[in-house]
């Protein structure tokens, strides 16, 4: 993972007491997190399993969307190569604010076993990541847990904070 000098807390500050409006907006946001249909490698298989009926992502209001314009979350599911990094960043930029990123699996977190010239050593070199999900590949339950943690994070922070543009650089 990259050792950023970027301070995310400086943008909107630490979590503060929520107002009722914030609570209502965050209720809506956190319960209809639409991820982008976007898989890179074997983690995507687990992500598909999570979306399918047995593990059933719909329970959390999480329905995969085929366009970044309609998505709130991007799950980086798999090995991010240097050739693809540019396109991944473009997809992220195309998503409307507020948006969140789940980095799924070892490869997306740190480059994982691909300690090579051609692999991005952590997706957080490209986009600001909200949830790092460890595992190789993480089981569907853990992706659900990551999503629940993201929901929790959204509910905790003031609604206005998420509207501020998160810039990696």
């Amino acid at each position: 993972m990259a050792q950023h000098k970027v301070n995310y807390l400086a943008n909107g500050g630490a979590p503060i007491v929520l107002t009722s409006i914030d609570k209502f907006i965050n209720f809506g946001r956190s319960n209809s997190l639409w991820p982008l249909t976007y898989g890179l490698a074997c983690c995507a298989i687990e992500m598909m399993a999570t979306g399918a009926s047995r593990y059933d992502f719909d329970r959390f209001g999480t329905i995969f969307r085929a366009s970044p314009r309609q998505a709130d979350v991007i799950v980086i599911a798999g090995t991010l190569t240097k050739k693809h990094a540019e396109f991944m960043r473009r997809l992220y930029d195309q998503m409307p604010d507020p948006k969140w990123v789940i980095s799924m699996g070892s490869c997306a977190n740190t480059g994982g076993m691909f300690n090579t010239y051609a692999t991005v050593q952590g997706a957080d070199r490209i986009v600001p990541v909200d949830i790092y999900l460890p595992g190789c590949a993480p089981r569907p339950e853990t992706l659900q847990y990551a999503l629940m943690m993201l929901q929790k994070k959204i509910r905790r922070e003031p609604a206005s904070k998420a509207m501020k543009r998160k810039r990696l650089v």
Partner: protein, 274 residues
């Protein structure tokens, strides 16, 4: 900006030398031991200069001149019914012989025989594309160009197949550095954010063992979660942080509790399905 350190020779320096590696030798047999192959080699020798021919594991290996490669492959396909090209690629012998060995693996479905046509090209020497004879050579030759930098000519679409078009150097050469190559290390940062962002993002961590259990900003363990950035260097890590799948205060709607609150100590593990 970061201080510049000279990196001209980083591509030249081999990171690995095989002091104790013994190259495995496959026993070779004479071509005369197989009538079918002997007839093929004799037919080929009438038209082309065959530098060497022998059998390896029951397959024929032929060395030809690189300038004849298309003609030999065409002859094998049309006259000797080796009608399938299975694979073609190169082997890096730059260090020892100053070039590449190109091999073409071919299969005859009529004769149930496989042959391997080999030729040696110098590092900068041009090699004719066999794409006009076998369509499958299209991608294989692009890969050869991408990974070894072999000069293929008369290929209709010769560009890199796996690496990005603006990638520097050829990754499957033995001299390619696995670490320390500046162009490769900063590739995605330079491309997306520009060189100015290098300082803010920082170098990539390529040490696979770089795990700091006291680092609570970049590492955590499920079931032992501590607040982000908490200092746990003096053993103040909690033994066990209770699982918190639920919202603080429970899940409520208009003041009515919808889901029972989770008490981890009271939860039970189901041994079989209900």
């Amino acid at each position: 900006m970061r201080a510049y350190s000279p990196k001209q020779d980083v591509q030249k320096k081999a990171y690995y030398n095989d002091r104790f590696h013994v190259v495995p030798q496959v026993p070779r047999a004479n071509v005369e031991t197989n009538e079918q192959f002997l007839a093929d080699v004799n037919a080929l020798k009438e038209k082309f200069n065959v530098l060497d021919a022998y059998l390896e594991k029951g397959h024929l290996v032929l060395y030809v001149e690189p300038k004849n490669n298309v003609k030999v492959v065409t002859f094998l396909k049309e006259k000797l019914s080796y009608d399938m090209m299975m694979e073609l690629s190169a082997i890096d012998y730059i260090a020892t012989r100053g070039g590449f060995e190109i091999f073409y693996e071919m299969l005859s479905l009529n004769k149930h025989k496989r042959i391997r046509v080999k030729c040696f090209v110098e590092e900068k020497e041009e090699l004719q594309s066999v794409e006009s004879v076998f369509k499958m050579a299209n991608w294989s030759e692009r890969e050869m160009y991408d990974m070894y930098g072999i000069n293929i000519i008369n290929h209709h679409n010769l560009k890199r197949i796996l690496m990005p078009d603006d990638w520097y150097d050829y990754p499957l050469r033995k001299t390619y550095p696995l670490q320390g190559d500046e162009a490769a290390a900063w590739y995605e940062v330079d491309k997306i954010f520009g060189k100015e962002a290098r300082e803010a993002i920082g170098p990539e961590i390529r040490d696979a063992a770089a795990i700091d259990r006291y680092d609570t900003t970049r590492f955590s363990r499920l079931g032992h979660e501590v607040p982000y950035g908490a200092d746990i260097t003096n053993g103040k890590e909690p033994e066990h942080t209770p699982l918190a799948y639920q919202e603080e205060g429970g899940v409520k709607l208009f003041g009515v509790r919808l889901i029972k609150e989770l008490h981890e100590d009271k939860s039970v593990e189901l041994k079989k399905r209900r």
